[in-house]
């Protein structure tokens, strides 16, 4: 028996996942497991051109077209726009094509093979237009493809006066860093099943992160009020941001086909379509100009951060915002300027992906800090130690660090855990011989949890809790379980706050007809922000029982359950809710981009150890230490899983996963040629937490999901630099890139030898 005073009871323990049994026994219902009578299968006919005008659509011979439901832009009953931020992307191209995967036409038929075959027999004539494919072409603006200047959004953060510093600096260090696109590669491809009923309207069920985003996009598409657009999440097999905004598109398509045919329509992408057509991580380019004093103090940081958003704005402005705010890293500096731009190109729109702009700009700063340290003749750890943000300092946006923060200690602990000093010494000895060189490197970084700036205030998230007559309590929110453990931690928080058992708390599957809008399941906000609302609603519910004198302090879970039963029988429904309230002292200026950018930051130090084969260019990770401070850990197994998974995904980002573009389309949209690491390629990932409870987070928790995506790539490239003495500034770093640099180095050495002779 636990004693009553023993804390924690449920939070902080590794309870079994809520949905684990259904998943491992195969009873979990993913969208493709659902079939409805009379259901049709839908497919999308895509443009195949990066930029063009549609001249004519014709339908080839040999297909019984009269059996098909066909939808074009002209059929759309409402607004042909995927509602998001800038309202620029159509559901179906209307005359104009802006990327090679742009949807032009929809087909549905009872027979899945038939509809796939028919897709090959729709022929579209185009008048090609000039297209642009990278950041430089977009900025040159010789061809304008979006707005007046190919720019979706610009930001400028200014702190102090950067330009006043250059002349006093002992050193000025410049660097350029770039990152490429990355595909989310969730296990379950995107899919939706839509039905239409003239009385009740549209119902869409499928794989998604944000049911209310889908609802918001479908309402204007059909000119329907919210109560006539119902969105239900099915079991979702991974998302990583890839199912934040794109599901609105496929849901709209399935709904249009259902509306036109009057029958249920299912659309499931295969892997190749999913990889080619859906959003990926934004490619980026960052330039740093840094002024430092001889004694290793950062005097000024001038940063230019540019991301490629693809053909439509989607979430690029928000991704840019997060990348901009994180661009100066966890360092104190009185003079910081970050100028950032999101540009348009004729590729499919890039979008949300775990980290959301931060992995790009943090890659740059964490590579650049090593370069500055080298210039100064300091070790990377000593240079960082002299410049870490501490409690009482302010960030680039002027956010005061109120929480206890000791990054120097975090760094020291991580380096100790990794055996850093010993290995540095040992590797430099070992590397004098042989063709396999060993290296060790690290990165120090942070991730802001929750929506940026005034985002959470605008969202006004709501959560309901409802007790049932059997004594169980149900959590109602729009937070989606997609494999990350939402249902488990929300139930843990509720059970702990209520004083009932974990098993007695159920988490309702999000259905816009049944749950309140708690905002999207993104931005590492679920545990910290929504968990806190669950905690508040739970405390209110408990208070009702205490006030009704149905419970006495010190009650057991069994007593709690019978109190619920009694309340419902004698008094009535037992239901509470909680709505987001901004913590006191939080200010954000959207114009000047100054103030409290995030409720809280999580902090981390990651250390990577590599072996580089100088004959083949192959890089193998030998060890990885991930130490982070994420507030209170709600569930140690899930938290560890988040870190291990994030590190693995970031190893892919750093060393394996390359999206190859041809004329704006992904040329390697197969899992045989878009290479992701397997378990065999991963090092032991050693995960450690420091727990400093955050007073405004649920039970002290901060965000965790995105943090581990931010640090591994620069840590790995820092380790490669340690091994080879070659500084790589671009990811992914593939064996051929290493080989090419090594060949250059060898030829240079041979030339030198030749000239001596």
């Amino acid at each position: 028996m636990y004693s009553k005073s023993m804390e924690p009871r449920i939070v902080g323990t590794a309870v079994p996942r809520k949905e684990a049994a259904a998943k491992v026994t195969g009873t979990a219902q993913y969208v493709d497991d659902v079939s409805l009578p009379g259901m049709l299968h839908g497919v999308t006919v895509r443009s195949g051109h990066p930029r063009a005008l549609i001249r004519h659509i014709h339908f080839g011979d040999g297909i019984p077209w009269h059996e098909f439901t066909i939808v074009t832009a002209r059929d759309i009953p409402g607004r042909n726009i995927v509602t998001l931020i800038f309202d620029d992307q159509p559901f179906l191209a209307d005359g104009e094509i802006n990327h090679p995967e742009e949807p032009v036409l929809l087909l549905a038929h009872e027979n899945k093979d038939m509809v796939r075959r028919a897709r090959q027999h729709v022929f579209i004539d185009y008048d090609p237009l000039p297209a642009i494919f990278d950041i430089d072409e977009a900025l040159q603006a010789k061809t304008i493809i979006w707005g007046e200047d190919n720019v979706f959004k610009r930001y400028c953060i200014e702190k102090g006066d950067v330009d006043a510093v250059w002349s006093q600096a002992d050193f000025i260090v410049e660097g350029e860093y770039s990152t490429e696109a990355q595909e989310q590669l969730y296990i379950e491809p995107q899919g939706m099943l839509a039905t239409w009923d003239p009385e009740t309207g549209i119902t869409v069920r499928g794989s998604m992160q944000c049911p209310f985003y889908v609802q918001k996009a479908l309402m204007p598409l059909f000119n329907l009020p919210a109560e006539k657009v119902r969105v239900i999440q099915q079991e979702t097999g991974g998302a990583f941001g890839g199912k934040e905004e794109y599901p609105s598109m496929i849901a709209g398509h399935a709904a249009l086909l259902a509306w036109k045919s009057g029958r249920p329509v299912k659309m499931i992408y295969d892997r190749e379509e999913d990889m080619a057509a859906t959003t990926k991580r934004h490619p980026s380019r960052t330039r740093h100009r840094t002024a430092v004093s001889r004694d290793g103090r950062l005097l000024a940081m001038d940063i230019e951060f540019i991301i490629d958003g693809g053909a439509y704005a989607t979430l690029s402005s928000v991704v840019l915002s997060r990348g901009t705010i994180h661009a100066a890293g966890p360092y104190r500096c009185d003079n910081i300027r970050v100028r950032s731009t999101a540009v348009a190109t004729n590729t499919p729109p890039h979008g949300a992906f775990r980290g959301f702009g931060a992995p790009q700009s943090l890659f740059a700063i964490e590579r650049h800090m090593n370069k500055v340290a080298r210039t100064l003749g300091l070790t990377p750890e000593e240079f960082r130690r002299r410049n870490f943000l501490r409690q009482g300092d302010s960030t680039a946006t002027g956010q005061l660090i109120k929480q206890p923060l000791d990054l120097a200690r975090l760094q020291q602990r991580a380096l100790q855990l990794a055996g850093y000093a010993d290995k540095l010494e040992r590797f430099s000895r070992l590397n004098r011989e042989g063709t396999r060189k060993k290296g060790i490197g690290f990165s120090t970084f942070m991730h802001g949890a929750g929506f940026t700036g005034s985002g959470e205030r605008h969202l006004q998230s709501v959560v309901h809790l409802e007790a049932r007559a059997d004594g169980t309590v149900c959590v109602l929110s729009s937070m989606t379980e997609m494999g990350q453990g939402t249902n488990t931690i929300l139930a843990q928080i509720a059970a702990e706050a209520l004083g009932t058992s974990y098993e007695q708390v159920q988490v309702l599957r999000p259905d816009t007809a049944q749950v309140p809008n708690s905002g999207p399941t993104v931005a590492s906000r679920t545990a910290m922000v929504i968990g806190r609302l669950v905690q508040s609603a739970a405390l209110s519910l408990k208070e009702k029982l205490l006030q009704a004198a149905l419970l006495q302090p010190g009650y057991t879970p069994e007593q709690f359950q019978s109190a619920c039963r009694e309340y419902i029988c004698s008094i009535g429904p037992l239901k509470t809710s909680a709505q987001y309230e901004e913590p006191p002292g939080v200010h954000w200026d959207d114009e000047k981009y100054r103030g409290e950018a995030y409720g809280a930051f999580s902090w981390a130090v990651h250390v990577a150890e590599v072996t580089v084969d100088t004959v083949t260019g192959e890089i193998q990770l030998d060890d990885f230490v991930a130490l982070q401070e994420v507030g209170r850990v709600l569930n140690p197994v899930l938290a560890r899983g988040q870190i291990e998974g994030g590190v693995a995904q970031a190893i892919g980002y750093a060393l394996y996963e390359k999206v190859v573009w041809r004329d704006g389309g992904m040329a390697n949209n197969q899992m045989t040629n878009y290479i992701m690491p397997t378990a065999m390629d991963l090092p032991p990932i050693r995960v450690y937490f420091e727990e400093i409870p955050y007073e405004h987070g649920a039970m002290g928790a901060k965000g965790i999901g995105e943090l581990p995506m931010d640090g591994p790539a620069p840590a790995i490239l820092n380790a490669v630099e340690n091994a080879l003495g070659i500084s790589f500034c671009h990811i992914p770093l593939l064996p051929e890139d290493v080989l090419s640099e090594l060949s250059v180095a060898r030829e240079a050495a041979l030339d030198l030898a030749g000239s001596v002779v």
Partner: protein, 327 residues
């Protein structure tokens, strides 16, 4: 998948008779490649003849060497004590391929006929593939061709043969035994370069059945090594691989070198030029570099795979150096 009929003959004679009925017939062993291709819509056999009841699962001594039945699984061959002790390069090559589960199922005969992993061959949604649809073009030449051929390609096809096992068999001068009618095909004559008929992978005739693979006696077979460079440690085909077997004198001079490359051409590539340049020499750095350079002299890179030329040279050098230390 297209519907097909299925039979499971009990003798080699029955299998050969059953295969005489036309071009839409396929033998099936482990099925690890054929079933995949049928699901993808690349292969459309009308008749499947299952070989698994045939008595072809033995590994036995034969003429001083070893005879390995066509139905022996990759796993059993790789782990067989005689293979491991006399021909370690074959064991290493097999174990470098695919995954444990696939190796348990895949057969030696089937692996000889493994089809290319060219992305464009494997996916019928690409219209152009001369190997899949003769005359339709080659999507790889202008497409993404990182894994493609640098040697022996044609303007019709730049695919590569993906089997690791075949590279080792070529280095070991193995001989493929077929029936219908009985015939011996040396490994070096088994696979074909694409030329103008890229749809034909091998010199096996329709209806002929592989019964066994013979390994000749190689007294110095232990002095051998297989190295493979691939994109990840599992589930990846070779970017470049090298199988090397060396006959050396006590003073370190190479009497005879057997070197075969994988991942570079539509057949496992015997590095005869390099072998000639190494014969009778002490393999110092310069000799090795010259030999590797000569072998790759006719190599041609495409947009994404030019790095494989330098990589192949480096792998030849590493492979010979490693083999010198082996055995």
């Amino acid at each position: 998948m297209t519907p097909f009929t299925y039979s499971c003959p009990k003798t080699i004679e029955e299998a050969i008779v059953a295969a005489e009925s036309g071009p839409d017939v396929r033998f099936i062993g482990g099925g690890t490649n054929l079933i995949d291709l049928m699901k993808m819509g690349v292969e459309h056999p009308r008749r499947i003849i299952d070989l698994n009841k045939l008595p072809l699962k033995m590994i036995e001594e034969h003429n001083g060497g070893l005879r390995i039945g066509a139905l022996v699984s990759n796993t059993d061959a790789a782990n067989h004590p005689l293979v491991r002790s006399r021909y370690p390069v074959l064991s290493q090559a097999i174990l470098a391929g695919a995954t444990q589960q696939l190796r348990n199922k895949a057969t030696m005969g089937g692996n000889l006929l493994q089809r290319t992993r060219c992305y464009y061959f494997y996916d019928p949604s690409f219209e152009e593939c001369n190997k899949r649809r003769p005359g339709s073009g080659c999507a790889a030449i202008k497409g993404y061709n990182r894994i493609h051929a640098i040697l022996g390609a044609s303007d019709q096809c730049i695919a590569v043969q993906p089997s690791d096992m075949c590279v080792a068999l070529l280095a070991l001068d193995a001989v493929v035994q077929v029936d219908g009618p009985p015939r011996s095909i040396p490994m070096r004559d088994f696979h074909r370069l694409p030329g103008s008929t890229p749809q034909i992978d091998t010199n096996l005739q329709p209806g002929q059945l592989i019964t066994a693979i013979d390994l000749p006696p190689i007294p110095y077979g232990r002095r051998s090594v297989y190295i493979k460079v691939r994109d990840r440690n599992s589930f990846a085909f070779a970017l470049v691989s090298v199988a090397t077997v060396l006959d050396t004198r006590p003073d370190g001079v190479i009497r005879k070198a057997h070197i075969a490359l994988g991942g570079v051409a539509m057949k496992p590539w015997r590095a005869t030029k390099a072998e000639q340049l190494l014969a009778g020499k002490k393999p110092d750095e310069n000799t090795l570099r010259a030999a590797a350079g000569a072998e790759l002299q006719p190599a041609k890179g495409y947009r994404d795979n030019a790095f494989k030329i330098e990589l192949a040279k480096r792998c030849i050098i590493r492979s010979v150096q490693s083999a010198l230390r082996a055995g």
